[in-house]
Assembly symmetry: C2
Amino acid sequence: MAWHLALVIEPAASDDSRTDFSATFRAVDPSSPVLPLGELSAQRGDGVFESLGVVGSHPQEVDAHLRRLARSAELCDLPAPHAEQWRQAIERVARGCGPGESVIKLILSRGIEHGAGPTAWVTAAPAADFTAARQEGIRIATLDRGYDSGAPLRAPWLLQSAKTLSYAVNMAAIREAKRRGADDALFVTSDGVVLEAPTASLIARIDGVFVTPTPAGGILPGTTQASIFSWLRSEGGSTASREVTAADLGRADAAWLVSSVRLAAPIREIDGVRLPVDLDLTPRLNDYLLSPRD
Amino acid sequence: MAWHLALVIEPAASDDSRTDFSATFRAVDPSSPVLPLGELSAQRGDGVFESLGVVGSHPQEVDAHLRRLARSAELCDLPAPHAEQWRQAIERVARGCGPGESVIKLILSRGIEHGAGPTAWVTAAPAADFTAARQEGIRIATLDRGYDSGAPLRAPWLLQSAKTLSYAVNMAAIREAKRRGADDALFVTSDGVVLEAPTASLIARIDGVFVTPTPAGGILPGTTQASIFSWLRSEGGSTASREVTAADLGRADAAWLVSSVRLAAPIREIDGVRLPVDLDLTPRLNDYLLSPRD
């Protein structure tokens, strides 16, 4: 894999008042050894992350991603990330990107076992080519998430609204979806409430309204979903965050999985049942998502 | 942290017929950089692991741990670990242990992103001192695992019976237990069935029978629990693997959290309610667990 650039960050305390954090960044060769075996990210998936899209050398929605990183850190009792430090790290790796689409990953780990504090790094790499998913659409398989819809509020230690490094279940769900002949999974609660995909949010058009499942502590608030909703409203569309049942989804006349790097992938099949792809709106959505956004 | 030894392993194919795998081991300094940033263990907690107790230079229950590693790998669609290769790696790091108690960790990761295959390593380090937990006992807080008791069989992609590197929820549960004034957590399903602790199995003595929750796909089969059950039966005790409800647990006259390194920690309080510590049996259990076992 070709990498653009990677920086290891020495995390600053949240009250650090420096204006220039470049002395806390160390450029590393991401294919060389960097992390010791005691890294708790590697031992226990113990940390949080973000993936940002980059178009040319413009990182998309930096503030929204940094807010979500901070929220994930809080849910995991990790020290608050210093927003300005991370912003400067993102700017630095973004300058090494492009042309075309890239992906920036932010990782905040609990650190080295028995160590002093968190470790952190930022990487930039070329994005995969998602043209087919964006244009032809994807087939999804709905999969039971095991939880009922009340679980996240009842049991916040399940970390359902934090973007943690513990993604083994997310990856297993995608493998199961592929075994079922689909391209991606869509999680549903044990009581039939639609949640999210393992690495994307759902937007469905139901009775003329663009609907996304309410977070309510049970799913990750989608940065790309929020950006699309702003754009749809600016275009005169109606949007709603509300509970979406599997039955509601059956009434959708179009739906998308949306995420920072694959962008808007129209769903063309749910559990083997075809769903029309909106061939007018979908390219406009992706044109919007590929324009510089802050 | 003082480490004894660490080996990076080049995983052999399961049909590799070599008798000596030493050429596939590379001793590394575990506090130096070893893993590249593309490691999927660090990016996504995507891999499986085992922790073995070591007494002197004797690794405990190697076969049972290797069987569970293989089972976890299978559940995660990882290539089957080569048992003889791992056994030799364990023997090699165990020779560097002791005196006293140590812990050996086996990690099998999905590998480097876009790489050729899994990566693997084995570490040995001194164990923490668990004398207080073993002698004075621990306080536990029961925590909702979010799942109902049918979820694991219905949704195997939840990986509930695999020991994956995605332990963020396990760690969050222990933090929540500590916030509640306890030392450890005990997971219970949303419908009131007792499961396991984040890093240990439960054994409870109920009506004179030593009972552990049935795995049934929902919990990790405990290597230490199985070893204790064999010993209890050899001592004339009755044992049973069966469904344990929260109400059953309330009737227990003694209970322990058991695991490979902390060994048998008697539970002296559940959600603030005192439980007697069996001061005769508990030290005998730990003496047994500290004897060489295969």
